[in-house]
């Protein structure tokens, strides 16, 4: 690992790369010429071209077909609803993590933020002030929980901005500290939602879609548009690709990074609220190790730790891949232990394949 300023070269902004009919660079070099020539015409098909650019979706398809064939219960509308609800928790945080990681930062404190937000959401609604509000008492509780998430994200972002300490260290500290705050706030107790409307929310369905899944999909769409269609999204790639150049181009890098930390804080909090509606409770140990799952999903989706590369479509693929693997292996009665081994191995295999087929990516961690 060399200091950042010596290794960073500018990377093209991803937003609207021209349509090219060539194989990915690494593939072109690795495959025998004859094979490459034979494969190339396939890229005229837009679907195949899209799949080559988003290899994680190939994996998602394989997993999907595999479990549909071998498991009796996998291919069912009811199960797809389940998968979406199960993945929404990690998926929401992964949306924010994509922004932060495209920025070239990382956030390890999301699990703790999730727990604190969940504690606030469940506890505040039972405050005596709101006793006469009926079901409306949920509203200030959820708002406060989301604000707490945004605030903690802002704090992380502000520290990264002003001190220049790497986000990995700042959020590692915050991970411990915010978990401390959770214990201070809850006094090591679990909170239970007394208002049943709160826990009923997770059972709500709008048409065929469970409410939680709908929220996740809408947020995915929103962040996708944010990252691919707005000035902020373009700046996100610019800052991650080459911070110096971004500064020279007049982007206010500090506030920009802070906004992305606030976005991930918001999503961690939202995820905490939704998780607590599923359980009707908030425990102080909620969300432990979630940061590791989220990073796994985002990296599977093709986002680079070095920044400047990645998108929401890939992240959605990564999240779904993890969700379907867990769900499918569960349905096949594979002990949960094996899921850890499979997921870890896949993560390393993806890294290996990526290194092999994308030689342009240096893949080094910028700290």
């Amino acid at each position: 690992m060399t200091p950042p300023d010596t290794v960073k070269e500018s990377r093209p902004v991803q937003a609207d790369a021209p349509v090219e009919q060539a194989l990915p660079q690494g593939l072109e070099e690795t495959l025998p010429r004859a094979t490459a020539d034979r494969i190339r015409p396939l890229l005229d098909n837009p679907v195949l071209r899209w799949l080559v650019r988003n290899p994680i979706w190939v994996f998602v398809l394989i997993v999907f077909v595999f479990f549909s064939l071998v498991s009796d219960h996998f291919f069912a509308a009811r199960n797809f609803q389940n998968i979406l609800v199960q993945t929404s928790t990690i998926g929401l945080i992964a949306l924010g993590m994509t922004l932060v990681m495209v920025n070239g930062n990382i956030d390890l404190s999301v699990g703790a933020t999730l727990a604190l937000a969940a504690a606030f959401a469940v506890d505040v609604q039972s405050w005596a002030v709101f006793a006469t509000w009926g079901n409306w008492q949920i509203l200030p509780a959820v708002c406060l929980a989301l604000l707490v998430g945004i605030g903690l994200g802002a704090l992380n972002g502000f520290i990264v901005w002003k001190t220049g300490v790497d986000a990995f260290i700042v959020t590692l500290g915050a991970m411990l500290g915010i978990r401390g705050l959770v214990f201070v706030y809850t006094g090591e107790q679990s909170f239970y939602a007394m208002n049943f409307a709160y826990s009923d929310f997770s059972a709500l369905s709008i048409g065929p879609l469970p409410a939680l899944a709908l929220i996740f999909l809408l947020c995915t769409l929103a962040v996708h548009l944010l990252l691919s269609r707005t000035v902020h999204g373009r700046n996100t790639y610019a800052v991650g690709g080459n911070r110096e150049a971004a500064v020279n181009a007049g982007i206010r890098v500090g506030p920009h990074m802070m906004i992305n930390f606030m976005i991930i804080g918001f999503f961690a909090a939202l995820s905490g609220v939704l998780l607590s509606t599923q359980m009707g409770a908030a425990t102080p140990n909620l969300g432990r190790d979630y940061e590791l799952w989220v990073i796994t999903a985002v990296v599977l989706g093709g986002t680079k730790l070095t920044g400047g590369k990645g998108d929401i479509i890939g992240t959605l693929g990564g999240v779904l891949a993890i969700g379907m693997l867990r769900n499918g292996m569960n349905l096949m009665n594979v002990p949960a232990f094996y899921v850890y081994v499979v997921l870890g191995s896949i993560l390393i295999a993806v890294l290996f394949l990526d290194k092999r087929f994308n030689r342009t990516a240096d893949g080094g961690l910028r700290l």
């Binding site: 690992m1 901005w161 260290i169 500290g173 911070r243 730790l305 232990f337 081994v341 870890g344």
Partner: protein, 323 residues
Amino acid sequence: MLDRLKAGGPAIARQGILVAFIVFMIAFTIMSDRFMTADNLMSVFRQSAIIGVMALGVTIVVIGGNLDLSVGSMLSFATVLVVDLHDKIGPELAIPVMFLATLCLGAVNGFLVGILRLNSLIVTLGMLSVIQGLVLIYSGGQNVDIVDQQGTWFALFGRGAIFGIATPIVMFGLMALVFHVIMTTMPFGRRVYAVGGNPTASVFSGIPRSRVVFTTYLISALCVGVAAVMLGSRVMGSQNNVGQGYELQVLAAVILGGTSLLGGAGSVLRTVLGVLMLAFIQNGLILMGQPYYTQWLVTWAVIIVAVWLDVAAKRGRLLSPIA
């Protein structure tokens, strides 16, 4: 403030951890009359030995420019293995078998990061998950324990004492000393610093970069093995997720010791200081009657301020120049 930081400041700011350590020690001594007693100090040393030994290994990995997040689940693995095998094949065989297995895991890390040059954060994150799975498969989700806790010489490592000093302290101290000598006076140490400081330049200087990185992961695994022997012997049993979360605590201690995550800078002895600092913060706050989780809040502030001062001293200004 800024001028002072530029002039005489850096020297002090670079020793910020030491200054903070002394300040904390004095504060705790004043606040609690039980803090500065031989018994208490010894028990803090003993408690910090397990994280400390692991931190020694991780320090060397980090100086070499990489991360090791797999030490936590590797500790679970090694502890479960040594405790389980203790009753099956006896301690004299269980310990070497456990070391062999743990070193194999370290070798896998070393192969993936050192030889294949894959990103260390993601590789060790993946290995964290894989190893946790292996532990659960091996133990079938059951906790393991040693039946005859009184009659086994295995108790020496966690519960015993050598020359009146608790064994974990002796082992931690010895390993810190040995690693310090290796890193400061021997060729291997200089190579690790060179590889971490500038990998490309180190290759041009004829340093076998891959082999050096590989070896740092073996050392890290070795340290985990030692920690597992101490932990298993202390508890005489093991849960199968006993090391969960250790990786980040260990990393916090290493960072607190002033080792740069960029690689190429840091020191084993300062990691000891980081480990002791965290342990004393925990101990001091508890003696002051605070609940155990306040230590995390204090750790949060201490880590950020310590690294901030370090970074600020290097660039000669307190605030980051980022607009």
